[in-house]
């Protein structure tokens, strides 16, 4: 057996030498290859796991946020509807109040205008009457000064005063 192995070049010294080479390679690869690469692979896989977990969390949060947004939108919709109806009601109330007041004011203005017109009318009438009386007395005076017409001055003054008295009554 040993002879056969020797004839095939098997030598325990060479065997040990190759074992040393193999062990050296094992150590070299362990330090420079397996350790850093496995570390990197583990880091990468943990990163991937973390990213996937984060993605799951983000997805869940997104669903929650979407729900919250929908809820808030619905609430806002309700509130806005409520506000609109309230505003409409208030608007109606204000509208009716304002129309009543406007009517009042308009009535007041009309009343005031009417009274002013009436007082103006009275004033104008009295002024016209006094003017007319003046004119009449003047006319009579002029007529009385005319020599062709002889009138009693007492009668004239009496007439004038009568007219004045009439005017005063008219007032």
């Amino acid at each position: 057996m040993l002879e056969a192995l020797n004839s095939l070049g098997v030598n325990y010294k060479l065997l040990i030498a190759q074992l040393v080479n193999f062990v050296l390679l094992f150590i070299v690869l362990y330090i420079f290859l397996y350790k850093p690469v496995l570390k990197m692979l583990n880091e990468r896989s943990s990163k991937v796991d973390k990213s996937l977990n984060d993605a799951d969390k983000i997805e869940k949060r997104l669903v929650e946020v979407e729900k919250e947004i929908d809820q808030k939108l619905a609430e806002a919709d309700k509130k806005s509807n409520l506000l609109i109806t309230e505003a409409k009601q208030q608007g109606k109330l204000i509208e009716s109040d304002m129309s009543v007041e406007a009517q009042k004011k308009a009535d007041q203005i009309v009343e005031k205008a009417k009274s002013e017109i009436a007082s103006q009318q009275q004033k104008m009438l009295s002024e016209t009457k006094s003017e007319i009386a003046g004119l009449v007395s003047e006319t009579i005076r002029l007529i009385a000064q005319d020599k062709t017409i002889k009138l009693d001055s007492k009668m004239i003054d009496g007439t004038i005063s009568k007219i004045k008295v009439d005017n005063g009554n008219v007032k």
Binding site: N11, L14, A17, Q18, N21, F26, Y30, L33, M40, L41
Partner: protein
């Protein structure tokens, strides 16, 4: 044309023979150390180039080990050895195909003839290397088996006195453990050595073009042999960690 089944001794240091296969193995240990050092010197989370290739190899072997062993603790322990088997064997198999391996050497007089002694020879074309690999593999299989299921349970596989049939099966199992050393070492040696001889013969017959497909074939054989050695070790480790029924 000189074909030698033994690795040739180039010189001796203090009575210790230095063979061409040993020189090639040492050279490739240094080259692999440099390559891995450069590739993993500045590790980046987004790998490129050499780092990417190294990561791919390590990840492939790592996944294969974990899938076959199916026990994280054991797989973690044996992974560096399994990966070193694969890298050592494939690197040396493919190294033998590099021009200059087996063709650059020193002319020496042997038995009255002038023969070329190559400076470099593929490590696996030397039985010393393949027997060493087989011994390491078989010893590790036993150690892991004992470590996982215990010495008592493990020895029950080989020495079972509960029935004559099981006793006989145990003896066969024991013999098969020794046969593993022979099958591991001679399979690898035979394939690599035969490949080298094939290439030498083909190149001597038709030096141009014709050897090319054979080089392709040898590349494939080199990969397959590394894979077979690694896979068989893994399967035997897995079998050793299962208790006998």
């Amino acid at each position: 044309m000189n074909i030698s089944i033994n690795a040739e001794t180039l010189f001796e240091i203090g009575g210790f023979p230095i063979t061409n296969s040993m020189l090639a193995t040492s050279l490739f240990v240094i080259i692999l150390a440099i390559v891995t050092f450069i590739g993993t010197r500045k590790m980046k989370s987004h790998p490129k180039g050499l780092q990417n290739a190294l990561e791919m190899v390590v990840e492939m072997i790592h996944n294969l080990t974990h899938n076959i062993i199916d026990n994280n603790k054991v797989a973690k322990v044996v992974f560096p050895l399994i990966a070193t088997f694969f890298i050592f064997i494939i690197a040396n198999n493919w190294a033998g195909l590099i021009p200059g391996f087996g063709s650059i050497g020193i002319y020496e007089m042997k038995e009255g003839h002038q023969v070329l002694v190559p400076l470099l020879r593929s490590a696996n074309a030397d039985l010393n290397t393949t027997i060493m690999l087989a011994l390491v593999s078989v010893i590790v299989i036993q150690v892991v088996g004992i470590g996982v299921i215990g010495l008592k349970s493990y020895s029950k596989k080989f020495f079972n006195f509960s029935s004559p049939i099981l006793f006989f099966v145990g003896i066969l199992e024991l013999i098969s453990e020794f046969i593993k050393i022979i099958s591991f070492s001679f399979r690898l040696f035979g394939n690599v050595f035969a490949g080298e001889v094939l290439l030498i013969v083909i190149t001597a017959l038709v030096p141009y073009i014709l050897p090319m497909p054979f080089y392709g074939l040898e590349l494939f054989v080199g990969f397959i042999q590394a894979l077979v050695f690694m896979m068989l070790t893994l399967v035997f480790i897995k079998m050793a960690t299962v208790e006998a029924h």
